[in-house]
Assembly symmetry: C2
Homo-oligomer: 225 residues x 2
């Protein structure tokens, strides 16, 4: 019964659509499953055996701590996203943890080595997975070039637009986003200081572009972003 649950959690991810019933069963045997509540911190990498994680429910942020102890947001992971050692190579230097942003989350995970075996036995999955990693790479490249050539205001606009497209609920050209990020989080994502982010958000609000509060962000007209 519990195994069945895990089965379905994996089954409905698009990446695993191509797998046979047996293959998923196999992966399920070694699947871990975990729930956590808002604010909890989940450590991975480093100490533990390398794993791939699949976020089934909720949102988390991946935070990296550098040599000097500074924390920076590496990624925001949403329902359905894979995270962890996506490159299939364990890098021990990186010191990261995940923090739960939504009320609660459900995460499944499997060992990197087992996942590799699965890829070897399923060329189609391997190809899909490669494209998936490629897509992740393209995203990062895009953030990188934005950081180089666009100012903070533009980066904020682009981020809001992207966020709205990924998670927003539209009614006409107005989009409502459930806001589970603090202004500090947003600032880190668009690579600016908290103060600048605050200032820009207020500016957008007084220009009538958005309506902002701690619960939700409303983009009045998505076409203006």
């Amino acid at each position: 019964m519990y195994d069945d649950l895990k089965y379905w959690y994996l089954r409905d991810h698009k990446l695993f659509k191509t797998l046979s019933f047996g293959d998923i069963k196999q992966l399920c045997i070694i699947t871990g499953f975990k729930k956590a509540k808002k604010g909890e911190i989940i450590y991975f990498s480093a100490s533990d055996v390398p794993r791939i994680f699949l976020l089934k429910k909720g949102n988390i942020k991946i935070v990296a701590v550098d040599e000097d102890g500074n924390e920076s947001i590496k990624d925001i992971i949403q329902k359905g996203d894979l995270f962890g050692e996506l490159g299939l190579e364990s890098d021990n230097e990186s010191n990261e943890y995940a923090k739960v942003l939504s009320d609660d989350v459900a995460i499944c995970s499997f060992l990197l080595s087992d996942f590799e075996d699965l890829l070897l036995r399923n060329p189609n999955l391997a190809l899909s997975y490669t494209k998936f990693v490629g897509l992740k790479m393209k995203r990062i490249k895009n953030s990188y070039s934005n950081l180089i050539s666009k100012d903070a205001k533009t980066r904020l606009s682009l981020f809001l637009k992207d966020w709205a497209e990924r998670e927003g609920v539209a009614s006409g050209s107005t989009i409502v986003i459930e806001n589970y990020l603090t202004q500090n989080d947003i600032a880190q994502i668009i690579c600016t200081s908290r103060q600048t982010a605050t200032q820009l958000l207020n500016e957008m609000e007084s220009n009538g572009l958005i309506s902002y509060n701690r619960k939700e962000i409303i983009l009045k007209d998505i076409y203006k972003f």
Copy 2:
């Protein structure tokens, strides 16, 4: 005979080490081969069928042109590197070209679709390739976090160190790099203005850290970087 040449060009790339003789022959049938000289510009993507390229000899830079016509260096490709649609998904929006930096280059290429077939038939290659893409991604992530948290001077140091490790010829703690980049190129790679790059390089030279000219860069003591 010409086919044999192409065979060897592919054969000695570490990614293709696991392939059987027959597999490579197969890939060779559809392999393109091309030579070019310094300063030449090679267009790819967009107009053409999507391809993966393998630089067999020399150096090139990948330059992207954005909507406003600004050019920016996306990547420096060296002997043995793959480039092109590495994510295996053709993106038409991107407008890029390659410019030859070394005296001459040799490039082989194969169609994306043929490469995909090959991956499907060779799970081991697929896995290696995924790791290779993952590694590329890790590099970009690293540049990104450098850009966020390090100043121009530090980024220049890190870049020189990295360059030296990849291509430099060491004698003791001194490393000599063949310099095929202009200061403008270097500036773009470390994401700063040409003026700042010039100033920083001269500063490092007068501090005795490096010795710079258009032909070569000598890092006096790699441990100081």
